[in-house]
């Protein structure tokens, strides 16, 4: 029997009403189904660890309430398992929040699976680490280290489902594992059935970014038109026991599922398509085929798998000083000349108002920015339109906050001391979190699941507070 995988979110900050039509369609179809929330990127996990560092009660997905509240009761009532990596840097905190939400929905007896073992920070100095691919460099010192999390595979999530979990909360897991786990649980596939594991993993890969497979992040007016982008339907992946996949979306929603939308997502963040590494399987997409079989229905076939890699990827986050940005606008006659003069003034000021190791960059937004290099090659090579609407942007980085403040304050001072007609200054600074990736031995990772026990957690929190 077909198993349905519905996507509820594709990143932290995604639309929080996206899951509603997906769940309505899963219920209407009445087939076994799960709803998956993928909300954890390299950037998000670093931010979550930072947040937990500042406030021990936080560190899980900040939008958890908004994501779950509209669909939690419907999923619980209809046997639709919810799996999410919304635990981020504090899965136990997210479990407690899910319990409270369920209680408010009249389901205080909810069974929540708590996946653990991804956080290896405390053991980092005692285990064998290899650099990830081309990365090199020294491991940051203990004082700079914020976190170390392994990309877990689907096994502990399947364990949680086997324990009867209705909601499974994880921290760092490989994104597709959220989707593969309910398939393993439902179909009982063997852990060395590599082609099926590869198909299930790619079902996850196609669904993990939400609307990116169903018309989101795709439209290019006149060439790639997408209807109803404001109400784009998040994907539902239909998976058969033999590993066949069809990508579709709820009827009545915007967006589109076409050969083109599916192809773009199939290779998203993939490097060698013949060897896509995940904790559960190495996927080979060399002979993958993508075929439209009906309106908003696309079949993906030809996915093969090979044995999983011996080591697991681990991302280490560490403090990397401060980063600051400031911007000012110039518009109308000779706007480009005034913006460029402002840039020259800032460059000169920074030579004697900031230390030489300050890393900085100046963009003229509207002329050259995101395509440009830090040294502004495109800005210098190309002539701007004299009149226009430009925004001069300064970005700086330094280990000490005071120099980042000082440098961005120099842009602010262009108000009175820079070229004519500058306006709309915005300025912000933040602590920078850097990441590095390593490979760890599977035997050094102990991943497991338990059913969340609020009493135990509260007691432990109490003990911790009393120390």
């Amino acid at each position: 029997m077909t198993f349905l995988l519905g996507s509820g979110a594709g990143f932290s900050g995604d639309r929080t009403d996206a899951a509603i039509p997906v769940v309505a369609e899963l219920i209407r179809r009445g087939q076994p189904a799960a709803l998956l929330f993928e909300t954890l990127g390299e950037r998000t996990l670093a931010a979550a660890h930072r947040a937990r560092h500042d406030d021990p009660g936080s560190g899980f997905e900040p939008l958890l309430d908004e994501l779950l509240e509209p669909v939690l009761a419907d999923c619980l009532d209809n046997g639709i398992a919810i799996l999410g990596n919304f635990g981020a840097a504090n899965p136990a905190g997210a479990c407690e929040r899910v319990r409270v939400l369920a209680e408010q929905a009249g389901r205080g007896d909810i069974r929540i699976g708590h996946v653990q073992g991804d956080d290896i920070r405390s053991r980092l100095s005692s285990i064998d680490l290899l650099h990830w691919e081309t990365e090199s460099g020294e491991m940051p010192g203990e004082e700079a280290l914020i976190s170390a999390n392994v990309y877990l595979g689907a096994a502990p999530l399947v364990e949680a489902l086997s324990q009867g979990a209705e909601v499974v909360v994880t921290g760092r897991v490989a994104d597709p594992a959220l989707f593969l786990a309910p398939l393993m649980h439902h179909f009982g596939w063997a852990w060395d059935d590599w082609d099926r594991l590869a198909a299930g993993t790619m079902a996850g890969h196609l669904g993990e970014c939400g609307a990116q497979v169903s018309g989101g992040y795709f439209a290019d007016p006149g060439l790639k038109d997408v209807p109803g982008l404001a109400t784009v339907g998040y994907p539902i992946i239909e998976v058969e026991e033999d590993g066949s996949l069809v990508v579709t979306k709820p009827p009545g929603t915007g967006g589109c599922v076409t050969e083109r939308t599916v192809k773009e997502q199939l290779l998203y963040e993939v490097h060698d398509p013949g060897s896509y590494l995940t904790p559960d399987v190495v996927v080979d997409l060399s002979d993958a085929r993508v075929v439209e079989i009906g309106p908003d229905r696309v079949a993906v076939s030809g996915i093969r798998g090979r044995p999983a890699p011996e080591r697991l990827k681990t991302t280490v986050c560490y403090a990397g000083g401060w980063q600051g940005e400031a911007e000012i606008s110039y518009a109308g006659p000779n706007a480009f000349g005034r913006a460029r003069l402002a840039a020259e003034v800032l460059r000169e000021r920074l030579t004697f108002r900031a230390p030489p190791e300050l890393r900085s960059r100046l963009d003229i937004i509207g002329h050259a920015s995101v395509f440009d290099s830090d040294t502004g090659d495109l800005q210098q090579q190309t002539a701007g339109q004299e009149n226009g609407d430009y925004r001069l942007r300064l970005a700086v980085e330094h280990p000490e906050r005071r120099w980042v403040e000082r440098a961005t304050q120099e842009l602010l001072a262009l108000y009175c001391a820079g070229p004519a007609g500058g306006g709309g200054v915005r300025r912000q600074f933040q602590r920078r979190v850097c990441t590095a990736s390593y490979l760890v031995k599977r035997s050094d990772v102990e991943a497991f699941a338990t059913l969340y026990d609020a009493t135990w957690n509260n007691e432990r929190s109490h003990d911790h507070g009393a120390q």
Partner: protein, 122 residues
């Protein structure tokens, strides 16, 4: 590539669509021909050398190209092009998400109408 007087130049954007993805300092650009008949043109002209030249100002150290004829697509993997990556770049777009459209600005030479007519006659 044989240059002919009877040749027109178009932007890659008219022939193909693309999406960028990042991991650390590495960027992938997945490129697909709108019309599978143009796949060979992409293969001939969107070379590792040309892509490396297009991104040279960003400090790219290596470009690898993976042809996927079954998808009428090419996956391009660019190393060290993000100048710090999502957590370290000073660029507004630390992910490099916009860079699919830098690739799509590449110029592609197409056989002109005379050549196409001749080809059709044969």
């Amino acid at each position: 590539m044989v240059r002919s007087e009877d040749e027109v130049t178009v932007s890659l954007h008219r022939l193909a669509h693309a999406r960028a993805g990042d991991k650390g300092e590495r960027l992938n650009l997945a490129l697909f021909a709108y019309d599978p008949r143009h796949y060979d043109i992409l293969l001939a002209q969107v070379t590792e050398v040309r892509v490396k030249a297009l991104f040279s100002h960003r400090g790219v150290s290596r470009v690898r190209r993976y042809p996927l004829p079954g998808l009428a697509g090419i996956n391009l993997v660019l190393d060290d092009v993000l100048q710090g990556g999502v957590n370290g770049a000073l660029n507004l777009d630390g992910h490099g998400k916009t860079l699919s459209f830098l690739l799509l600005g590449m110029e592609i030479a197409l056989p002109g109408t005379q050549q196409r007519k001749r080809a059709a006659d044969h």
